[in-house]
């Protein structure tokens, strides 16, 4: 029954900008403070106060706009969006309506199977967040915390151009990585720094006209967005197939039941009566502002990924892992330049480093082995000073703060045994000590050979080059 239908999805993401202070006041935006301790007279809307916009928030909006090839308006306009709710003390939210700062952008998204699609982005506008209502802590009353009131948000709105829940999620993940990469937001979904609303409608395949949409509000994980959209598509198709019609409304996703349900509809349909905010003249972005931001724009994740594959000959999976976070990619670049060996660097960053970060519950930025030190370590692997196996021990010692790679190699005596004499002596010892296994090998049992190599490696405490051990052991066993 679904084959006859096409879903049409548009996404609105509210990204909390990583400024220190609020959009229109000098209050802190730090998360988790005691209620109302970060709400200034502007934020609580005392009469006579006036908003003054935050330059950094404007820069972040421009930066995101440039990263999605959007138009940045030379003049954009702050507008009042009027509605009554206790956590909105002014009775309006300052937003942008007719003339947003960012419009007509695009974001290329890779699906898991490697195919790509482009999501047209209608607009991104600056706006302030509302406060928080606490409904269940007070007897017969609602508590209001205005710490969040005035926090800068960038609302990023796609065209209704997505056609499935998995594409919607892929877009959200790509956008999430981008805002973190650009440093415009920490993207913390638990703390509400990246919130998604999805507009979902369905139409018969081939119809040009869009169906009536329902809006799913505030789903705070990628997995739940996907499930909520899937549920909503199915609900609408069933409704229409059985002769019903979709009502334009806001629906909430219930994670425990995996379904969307109608929010008790507000008294009247949305009627925000937007108008330009008389307190705020238009926001100007000069060509010089644009140039400054363009110059400061980092290499974007998609370009970095493509470069790793094309120029460094890394695999798709390695390139994906290295570009998941900008810190990881930057770390890798330092290591790669130090070693001039992309493969080796990638395998250590994705392997040993990631494992250590995971084990210690920390991030690349806080890694106890910094990128230049990792570069020095891998240089010792490359120039043959230590074996790859010893390098892991050196890495662990570096993580534990025992010093530089060279100091640790010297202190622990981990220098690779490259002297054939020492190796041959170790091999002779193993051959003498294990006559049975040697006899088995000579009798044609090749399986025991690996065991003998292991014994030599053990005797040299991992400091021998396995390839050389292999060569000398074969020669010893086959020639005597």
């Amino acid at each position: 029954m679904f084959a006859d239908w096409e879903a049409v999805i548009g996404l609105e993401v509210h990204v909390q900008l990583a400024t220190r202070s609020k959009l229109f006041s000098g209050s802190s935006t730090a998360y988790g403070a005691e209620p109302n301790t970060q709400a200034s007279p502007v934020d609580v809307a005392l009469p006579g106060t006036l908003p003054v916009p935050n330059r950094e928030a404007v820069r972040f909006a421009i930066r995101l706009g440039l990263a999605i090839d959007a138009r940045i308006a030379p003049h954009s306009v702050y507008a009042r969006k009027n509605y009554f709710y206790p956590d909105l003390p002014k009775g309006y939210q300052i937003s942008q309506y007719e003339d947003p700062i960012v419009s007509a952008g695009r974001l290329a998204v890779r699906r898991d199977d490697g195919s790509e699609f482009v999501v047209p982005i209608q607009r991104a506008h600056l706006e302030e967040d509302a406060g928080k209502s606490v409904h269940d802590a007070f007897h017969g009353a609602t508590g209001i915390d205005l710490n969040r009131a005035g926090t800068p948000l960038l609302e990023i709105v796609t065209e209704p151009a997505l056609h499935g829940a998995s594409d919607a999620t892929a877009y959200l993940k790509t956008l999430h990585r981008l805002v973190r990469w650009l440093g415009v937001s920490d993207g913390n979904m638990q703390e509400g720094s990246f919130r998604c609303d999805a507009n979902v409608s369905v139409r018969r395949r081939g119809d040009a006209k869009l169906g009536t949409r329902a809006e799913i509000k505030n789903v705070n994980s990628f997995r739940f967005v996907e499930k909520a959209i899937d549920y909503e598509i199915e609900r609408q198709v069933r409704l229409l197939e059985s002769g019903g019609s979709v009502v334009q409304e806001t629906r909430l996703y219930d994670e425990t039941r995996n379904q969307t349900r109608s929010m008790r509809s507000k008294e009247s349909a949305h009627d925000y009566r937007y108008f330009p905010d008389p307190d705020l003249p238009p926001l100007a972005v000069t060509p010089a502002d644009l140039e400054r931001e363009r110059a400061a724009l980092p290499e974007l994740p998609a370009a970095r990924r493509a470069r790793y594959v094309a120029e460094l000959a890394l695999g798709e999976a390695e390139a994906d892992a290295l570009t998941a976070e900008r810190d990881t990619a930057d770390y890798f670049d330092v290591v790669q330049r130090a070693t001039n060996d992309a493969r080796l660097s990638a395998s250590w960053v994705i392997g040993e480093l990631a494992a250590a970060l995971n084990e210690h519950g920390t991030s690349v930025a806080q890694a106890r082995v910094a990128a230049p030190a990792m570069g020095e370590l891998l240089a010792r692997v490359k120039d043959g000073t230590i074996t790859a196996k010893s390098a892991k021990d050196v890495f662990a010692a570096m993580w534990a703060g025992e010093g530089t790679p060279d100091a640790i190699i010297a202190a622990k005596g981990l220098k690779r045994v490259s002297d054939d004499g020492a190796l041959l002596a170790a091999i002779a010892g193993i051959v003498d000590a294990n006559p049975t296994q040697v006899a088995q090998y000579r009798g044609g049992d090749d399986k025991v050979y690996t065991w003998l190599v292991g014994q030599v490696m053990k005797a040299t405490r991992g400091k021998a080059d396995p390839a050389r051990v292999n060569e000398l052991l074969r020669r010893t066993l086959d020639n005597s």
């Binding site: 202070s21 200034s40 003054v52 916009p53 609602t142 915390d145 008389p278």
Partner: protein, 95 residues
């Protein structure tokens, strides 16, 4: 413009105004005249005039991203009708 009772009620609800019968009747007479006055603006010639969002031709001044405000919750909460545990209290609202 025709100010029928449903429209008056809708506007009153959006504005959170409690109107009695006489307010409604007065508004039903006044509103169309106010709107007609404003509509006269639509007759002005705007040939070659750029849309204007603000009467003064300036752009907004921006501030640096610096925290300049501290905790004034005691003073501000004292202005509220009711507060408890650092929160402003309002009549119960549920979505």
């Amino acid at each position: 413009m025709h100010a029928d009772p449903a429209l008056i009620d809708h506007l009153a609800r959006l504005s959170r105004l409690a109107l009695d019968a006489s307010d409604r009747e007065r508004l039903a007479n006044e509103l169309p005249r106010v709107v007609a006055l404003l509509d006269s603006l639509a007759r002005a010639s705007v040939e070659g005039v750029e849309p204007l969002a603000h009467p003064l031709e300036l752009s907004v001044r921006l501030r640096e991203d610096v925290v300049t405000e501290g905790d004034r919750s005691d003073e501000l909460l004292a202005l509220a009708g009711e507060s408890q545990g650092g929160y402003y209290l309002v009549p119960r609202v549920i979505d």
